[in-house]
């Protein structure tokens, strides 16, 4: 006779393991065929390095906007947010309504005029124009290393998820996905990556929406869902008075300052992976609208990714979440797919996850090849080569980026703990960079030496805080609180030191800073546009809707 524990484990495994049918494989094959065809169709249009790295700066705003949000809507995010929904409930929506939208409004209205107007080809290049070579080098090298490692982690996570759900071999998943991503990014460059990100956005929405709707029907609508979950699970603000009152272990200050300001602004305003999408826009108006258009669907994503996680926790037997005697909230989305989708729709759901993983890799690889070619190769290895040489180097860097990512994925297989640490470190590396950008863009007095030493000290402070937490020299009520406060300290160290050092060192001449600093730059005028088409109007609409959502689910 089977032991009860074994029986529960077997039931959980059965609930999670999905058997794909011919129809599901047909959907996956259709997706792969279209992705490769798009790359092949775009190849003949990749004539210059700007075509390859920045899509020739001619993509319309609605496309760059959807790519801007999709670059951040990878499968890790989708599955992670569903897991957080199951674990923390609607508190998770702070990652959108506090931790994303305000920063997207800010970067669209106030930072994009400098990124796009300066004609910089990358975030590190803006740092060179505003400060000097050493600050650019520091950012370019750290970003290049981070992106290929992030791509590898993404690949590793995909292989693990598909082995768990479908029993696919880890090696086959890694190598096949790498081959597909390599083919379409080498052929079509950033345009190919952006097109696939838009495709992935619609796949995620259309692939997961029916599951969310069916789940809500089964839960008895919003009131039924609230009744089935622990108290406060469907609220966003009412439990944030103290860290002990909510499952996240964070109070409102940590959410607003750590997540809402430092981490969020640090990511959305300075990470080249997302900023690159706006730089590919066809003109300044489109560049400014890119994050604002992205914010509109972004604010409703919680209903597609967080709510299914809450539904899973509310209606599925708890034993299905148990693995080796421990609750695994990460299973929320796969369990919902297995529970609701028959053959056919299951293929669509799996394709949506596959597309998210692959476009996550492609996004990192296209950001890497641009920074490598423009900010490292052209700056330090071969400065004055003809443009076609840099186009070829971009393709070589793409191949190298994918190969290093595969290596990083296998490294993660060997040392998964190292990858956990790295992923956490990535999350606060952008925090000090935010201080550098704010002081650089909005104060002409900030000096190159102040920026460089402030940035390196802020990054060092983040690493020190991280190790202090790991060695239990500093205590927080949750890992999330530690992450938020680590970011706040890193930002504050960078901000204060940059100010102090700038006070004692020589700023650049004002004539050199025109177009790079707020007070010395002519603001874009939109009087020629109808008021409905102006970025500020769109920003106002986004802000009002976000405040409303926060109020409704308070």
């Amino acid at each position: 006779m089977e032991a009860p524990g074994n029986s529960r484990a077997a039931r959980a495994e059965k609930a999670l393991t999905m058997k794909l049918h011919l129809i599901d494989y047909a959907v996956i094959a259709l997706y792969c065929t279209f992705v490769l065809s798009v790359g092949a169709a775009l190849k003949k249009h990749m004539r210059t390095s700007v075509d390859f790295f920045l899509s020739g700066r001619r993509i319309p705003a609605w496309v760059t906007g959807l790519a801007f949000i999709s670059a951040n809507l990878g499968a890790l995010e989708v599955m992670g947010m569903a897991a957080s929904g199951a674990k923390y409930g609607m508190l998770t929506s702070h990652f959108y309504w506090v931790g994303a939208i305000p920063a997207m409004i800010f970067v669209g209205l106030f930072m994009m005029p400098f990124y796009y107007g300066s004609r910089a080809r990358s975030v590190p290049e803006y740092l060179r124009l505003r400060f000097d070579e050493k600050t650019r080098a520091f950012n370019a090298f750290t970003f290049a290393v981070m992106t290929v490692l992030a791509s590898g982690i993404n690949m590793y996570a995909m292989a693990i998820v598909f082995r768990l759900m479908l029993g696919w071999s880890i090696h086959t998943t890694i190598l096949l996905s790498a081959a597909v991503v390599l083919a379409y990014t080498v052929l079509g460059g950033l345009t190919s990556s952006i097109y696939n990100e838009v495709l992935q956005f619609f796949l995620i929405v259309l692939g997961i929406l029916p599951m969310a709707v069916l789940g809500m029907m089964d839960a008895g609508g919003w009131p039924g869902l609230a009744a089935r979950l622990p108290p406060g699970f469907t609220r966003t603000w009412s439990t944030l008075g103290s860290a002990t009152e909510n499952p996240m272990g964070v109070e409102w200050f940590g959410i607003v300052m750590g997540l809402g300001f430092v981490l969020s602004f640090g990511y959305w305003c300075t990470d080249f992976l997302v900023v690159q999408r706006a730089m590919a826009a066809r003109d300044m108006t489109a560049a400014q609208k890119t994050p604002l258009i992205a914010a509109l669907p972004k604010m409703f994503i919680p209903f597609i990714v967080i709510v299914p996680g809450m539904v899973a926790w509310a209606i599925l037997p708890r034993e299905l979440f148990m693995v080796d005697g421990q609750v695994q909230h990460n299973l929320a989305l796969p369990l919902m797919l297995a529970h609701y989708y028959p053959p056919g729709m299951l293929g669509v759901g799996i394709t949506a996850l596959l597309a998210s993983f692959m476009s996550g890799m492609a996004g990192n690889v296209t950001a890497f090849n641009t920074v490598w070619t423009y900010d490292i190769y052209q700056s330090y290895i071969r400065r004055d080569a003809p443009d076609r040489h840099y186009l070829m180097m971009g393709r070589i860097a793409t191949v190298a980026g994918v190969l290093i990512s595969v290596g990083a994925a296998y490294l993660a297989l060997q040392f998964s703990n190292i990858m956990d640490y790295l992923q956490l470190i990535f999350s606060f590396v952008n925090a000090p960079l935010l201080a550098t950008f704010l002081l650089g863009m909005f104060s002409k007095r900030t000096t190159p030496n102040g920026a460089f030493w402030g940035l390196t000290s802020g990054t060092a402070a983040a690493a020190l805080h991280f190790h202090a937490v790991r060695r239990e020299l500093v205590h927080y009520s949750s890992d999330m609180a530690a992450n938020f406060y680590g970011a706040i300290y890193a930002w504050a160290v960078c901000f204060v030191l940059t100010l102090l050092i700038s006070f004692f060192t020589q700023p650049r001449a004002e004539a050199e800073l025109v177009g790079l600093v707020y007070s010395l730059t002519e603001k874009p005028s939109y009087k020629r546009l109808p008021w409905l088409n102006r970025p500020a109007t769109l920003a106002l609409l986004v802000a009002v809707l976000t405040i409303l959502l926060n109020w409704i689910y308070r």
Binding site: F34, S55, Y195, V198, L199, L206, G344, M345
Partner: protein, 70 residues
């Protein structure tokens, strides 16, 4: 200002893909009506039709934009 890039209107590949997936799902759902019943809905047939219409709408938009260009 048009909605497409000069090289390839993105609505073509996305529209064609969703139209193809939607049609495939709808036909499969029609042939296997009992397999996908949820809340009285034939999920493959009904959602396949939605996806097909979405894809067809994008293709129609791309085709119209292509005709307008000189």
């Amino acid at each position: 200002m048009t909605d497409s890039t000069p090289e390839l209107d993105i609505r073509w590949p996305i529209g064609l893909l969703f139209a193809a997936i939607g049609a495939l799902l709808a036909v499969y759902g029609a042939l296997n009506p009992t397999e996908a019943q949820r809340h009285g809905l034939n999920l493959n047939l009904d959602w396949g039709a939605v996806m097909f219409l979405f894809g067809a709408g994008l293709v129609w938009g791309a085709w119209r934009a292509g005709r307008k260009q000189p």
